[in-house]
């Protein structure tokens, strides 16, 4: 259940309310829309730790 998968942030869908900010994350080429509500610092190219559609951490390189 607490399984979290790392993936690369490849695009950001900006929104004025951080609650609705999302991005596309590539998991080995498979894209999935992910909430960026908890990682306001995330930038394109970052590796994100994603759990149930939500990024929980920007992984250290």
């Amino acid at each position: 259940m607490c399984l979290a998968v790392p993936g690369e942030l490849v695009s950001i869908n900006e929104h004025h309310d951080p609650l609705w900010r999302t991005g596309d994350v590539s998991f080995g080429g498979v894209l999935r829309q992910v909430s960026l509500a908890c990682v306001p610092e995330a930038q394109l190219g970052d590796q994100l730790l994603v759990h149930v559609g939500m990024a929980l951490a920007v992984l250290e390189p």
Binding site: M1, C2, L3, A4, P18, L19, W20, S35, A37, C38, V39, P40, L49, H51, V52, G53, M54, L56, A57, L59, E60
Partner: protein
């Protein structure tokens, strides 16, 4: 303390370990990874691993499963949850897959956030999200709740079963029969919550705690750091999962949890009543609670665990190995589970079944 290969880490563990130590990995994902990599068989015989209660599917109260079963059978309801929840038996052995086979509208979602669209597409149906998970998962449910109130989706409701890890660890470490000398904390829970609650646990119970990840290297690193502390008589929190878990955790995720939930005492399946062990919706989000929309079902009689001799309570407390259960493999299998730890991809019984321990 940086080694470049699993073999080097194993050699370091052997070098450090001069006596018998019992460690508990908290998270069921770690249990499966330890067995998948064969780490349990590669460690020196002096190190004993006890498998912790970190499997939300396993510890969700059977009363809540029965509530979900009753709701899912209603024609006006669409019940959404994570895939593992569909095979968890309620108190009479039935599960959500059986309800679905009888015509109930039970849907598997990847993310709690997907439930909003389901509710918007079916305004005439009552959409219930069976929300399980530890602090790792609670932020996603909290975000769903905030979005649901903002967007005004009156047919979306939550059956909240979220639980908190530190209170159950406190209860387990307080138990007189507890054999655990050191803890590998669940890395992704700490990625959200940080280390503060674990500093308090380590100090009060005088046990070392190492925040630990999920790869073979991270698991071995966690074990090495815990053994090293035990050999030195130390009992503090160390972070072996720095690439993901900051010491303070994730502030935005913690804020979401605090805005939407408050801690409550709650029942853990197989473990009993845990003070502060659960989360409930706080106002104004409590208006999303499914209990506010529908009358509660009548409660069912004794649990199947007791009725069928399932020892999952002992397994979840680390007091019995899954393979010590008389029902293990025959008749209890992941396809026909008697208890929740055989169901889940994080349950200890399922790990022993899959990796043939």
């Amino acid at each position: 303390m940086s080694s470049s290969s699993p073999e080097q880490l194993l050699a370091e563990i052997r070098h450090h370990c001069t006596q018998s130590w019992t460690l508990m990995e908290v998270c069921g994902g770690q249990t499966h990874a330890l067995l998948r990599h064969g780490i349990d068989q590669l460690l020196p015989a002096e190190i004993h691993l006890i498998h912790g209660p970190g499997c939300p599917v396993c510890v969700t109260a059977s009363e809540r499963i029965d509530q979900a079963l009753e709701l899912a059978a209603r024609p006006e309801v669409i019940l959404c949850s994570f895939g593992d929840m569909l095979r968890v038996p309620g108190r009479q052995g039935r599960n959500l897959l059986a309800v679905r086979a009888e015509g109930g509208d039970v849907r598997v979602v990847y993310s709690p956030l997907d439930v909003l669209a389901v509710a918007q597409q079916h305004p005439d149906r009552l959409v219930v999200f069976l929300a399980v998970g530890f602090e790792t998962t609670a932020p996603a449910t909290a975000l769903l709740a905030r979005r649901a109130l903002l967007a005004g989706v009156p047919n979306l409701t939550l059956l909240v079963c979220h639980v908190r890890v530190p209170p159950v660890l406190h209860a387990m470490l307080n138990a007189p029969q507890c054999q655990v000398q050191g803890l590998l904390a669940a890395g992704n829970v700490c990625a959200v919550m940080g280390q503060a609650e674990y500093n308090a646990l380590a100090a009060e119970h005088r046990r070392p705690i190492v925040v630990t990840g999920f790869s073979a290297m991270e698991l071995l690193q966690g074990i090495l750091q815990a053994v090293d502390q035990l050999e030195r008589g130390a009992h503090r929190v160390e972070n072996g999962y720095r690439r993901a878990a900051a010491e303070q955790g994730n502030h935005a995720a913690q804020a979401l949890i605090q805005q939407v939930f408050h801690p409550i005492d709650c029942q853990w399946r197989g473990l009993g009543w845990i003070p502060g062990g659960g989360l409930a919706l706080r106002e104004p989000f409590a208006s999303l609670a499914v209990e506010r929309r529908v009358a509660p079902p009548v409660s069912a009689p004794a649990s199947p665990e007791q009725a069928q001799g399932c020892i999952s309570g002992l397994v979840l407390q680390g007091l019995a190995r899954p393979s010590a259960c008389p029902h293990f493999r025959r008749p209890c299998t992941p396809e026909q589970p008697l208890g929740a730890p055989m169901v889940s991809s994080e349950g200890a019984c399922a790990a022993y079944y899959r990796y043939q321990r």
